[in-house]
């Protein structure tokens, strides 16, 4: 009887997880999704605690307590700008749990492990261990603890691949003959080392795609744990996780116009960008002041704001919202143009602007907003660069050629807020800055937008 209740509870938990993701398909139902997920997790945990295998609760309570003591403050105090790091850390924890469980299972049952279990165990521990160190490295790079630039040396790919091949080979050997338990720790160590080496050659800016891939790996290793423990809700959750990470990395790679293979093999062969070959645009750049800009804005009817990574760096989202409110109050229509890979994480701009209280129906996706630019009197580019670069449309040699962009250059006039003429993530020049209709407003995004707000609120509403 108790077993039946447990089986039904796990099924219910699986269904609730699916509903949780389904309800994320609209902001209206999304919070209900969180509740569904929470209830599902609660049910699964209670059902597990009822199981006869569990004989003592002391260490469980210790674990739950310490975990909550770390998790709650993390959730409450984490600034929204630190989301990419947090995500990396979370994959590290998930992978850690999977490999700890895998290692325990191995030593509990060795040498009487059947081939299938050993296969699933090998998969779980290999993926879990490499995802653990890989995610920690990614966290370090994003958090700035480790140097963000890629570390590359000759023969790197060959070395990494051989290391992986050895680890996989030993794991396969273990599957064939599970009694050679001395091999097991070697596999674990090799996988841990491989995780580190995998991330070393990848630049900090390429991390988001890698993180999504690691998400998918962590999910798969969780699913493998489900096979080992013969637990179906683990398989369901692992598969959902794996699918999500995989889809997000595909979406990112498409929006960045990177090949799918490039993504599948994660780090290997990271694109080397050489800005050198390119001809330098010699047209002059027109720099303006907040005063001039405010004068143009005063008479605009439609203004489109294009936020990018720089807005996140400068934490300028609140000032941007003030600017938008001010313009709206003056009767100007304001829209936000959100490029799918603006920022450094899928949905980055949306979260920041939501945090600053910008209503989400004002955030318009690329495909929809592009037809509005010709109607716009002013497009204000705030810390965005690559996602507005017209080179993507016509310059065949450019690393971003073919990437869909926000067609800012179709607007009547353009204002660009950034600190210098430095390139963005892709490391290439942006001809937009040299166009006649463009006015550059150099400076930190928060300061410049603050200046605009100040100027605009000086002049009365009735202009």
């Amino acid at each position: 009887m108790r077993d039946n209740i447990i089986a039904v509870s796990y099924l219910a938990a699986g269904v609730l997880f699916i509903l949780a993701l389904r309800w994320l398909s609209s902001p209206r139902t999304a919070r209900r999704g969180v509740q569904a997920g929470e209830v599902g997790m609660l049910i699964a945990v209670i059902a597990t605690l009822l199981r006869s295998e569990i004989v003592s609760y002391e260490w469980i309570l210790v674990g739950l307590f310490i975990g909550s003591a770390i998790g709650v403050p993390m959730a409450v105090f984490m600034p929204m700008t630190a989301m990419p790091q947090r995500t990396a850390l979370s994959h590290a924890f998930g992978a850690l749990a999977a490999s700890m469980v895998g290692i325990s299972e191995f030593y509990l049952h060795t040498p009487r492990i059947d081939h299938f279990t050993m296969g699933a165990l090998g998969f779980e521990v290999l993926l879990g261990s490499l995802t653990f160190t890989g995610s920690l490295m990614a966290f370090g790079k994003l958090q700035g603890i480790l140097p963000g630039r890629p570390i590359v040396y000759r023969g790197q790919n060959v070395m990494n691949l051989s290391l992986l091949a050895v680890a996989v080979g030993l794991a396969v050997y273990l599957v064939v003959d599970p009694s050679v338990s001395a091999l097991f720790p070697i596999v674990v160590v090799l996988a841990l080392v491989f995780g580190v080496l995998l991330i070393i050659p990848i630049g900090g800016a390429d991390m988001p795609t890698v993180i999504s891939l690691l998400n998918s790996y962590a999910g798969l290793s969780g699913a493998a744990m489900g096979f080992v423990l013969n637990n179906k809700v683990l398989i369901i959750a692992g598969a959902l996780d794996g699918a999500s990470g995989f889809l997000l990395s595909v979406i990112m790679s498409r929006a960045m116009n990177r090949s799918f293979r490039n993504i599948m093999f994660g780090a290997f062969g990271q694109v080397q960008i050489s800005a050198a070959g390119e001809a330098v645009d010699e047209r002059p750049v027109r720099s303006g002041s907040a005063e001039e800009a405010a004068m143009v804005l005063e008479t605009a009817r439609l203004v489109i704001i294009v936020p990018g990574y720089g807005m996140a760096v400068a934490q300028a989202q609140h000032k941007v919202r003030e600017l938008s409110d001010l313009l709206t109050r003056r009767g100007t229509e304001v829209k936000f143009a959100i490029h799918p890979v603006a920022g450094r994480m899928p949905g980055h701009m949306n979260v920041l602007l939501a945090e600053a209280d910008v209503p989400y129906d004002q955030l318009i996706e690329m495909d929809e907003i592009n037809s509005d630019f010709p109607r716009a009197d002013v497009a204000i580019v705030i810390g965005a660069n690559d996602v507005t670069n017209p080179a993507a449309r016509h310059s065949q040699g450019s690393p971003i050629y073919g990437m869909p962009i926000l067609e800012v250059d179709k607007a009547q006039s353009v204002m660009v807020i950034k600190r210098s003429m430095a390139p963005g993530f892709a490391g290439i020049e942006n001809e937009l800055y040299h166009e006649d209709k463009t006015m550059m407003l150099f400076g930190d995004a928060k300061a410049v937008v603050g200046g605009l707000v100040h100027e605009l609120s000086q002049t009365g509403v009735a202009v």
Partner: protein, 99 residues
């Protein structure tokens, strides 16, 4: 694990992965960041496996590793759901803003 367990696991894995793709491709860009933290939270289901190891009290090694695993997954569960909710609370429509 018997071969039939493997078979059953494969069925469940394949169906869930398919379902995952269908469901997740319908999540709008707007919510991609909450989606990431939601899947983090769900991946905390590794807690189930961790509890079984930590609570079974079989060897010292397994209890230690199990407890570590419980800590790691609890962090994911707790912070994952809380952060997702915190983020989603911030998403408001124009008409909901002035409340």
């Amino acid at each position: 694990m018997t071969i039939s367990n493997l078979e059953i696991g494969l069925y469940i894995f394949v169906l869930s992965a398919f379902l995952g793709f269908e469901v997740i491709r319908r999540v709008p860009q707007l919510l991609h960041t909450p989606l990431m933290s939601m899947t983090n939270a769900i991946s905390g289901i590794a807690l189930v496996g961790s509890l079984l190891i930590a609570g079974a009290h079989r060897t010292t090694l397994s209890t230690v590793l199990g407890t570590l695993a419980v800590i790691a997954s609890t962090i994911n569960v707790v912070s994952g759901f809380m952060i997702t909710d915190r983020m989603l609370r911030m998403f408001k429509r124009r008409d909901e803003r002035k409340e």
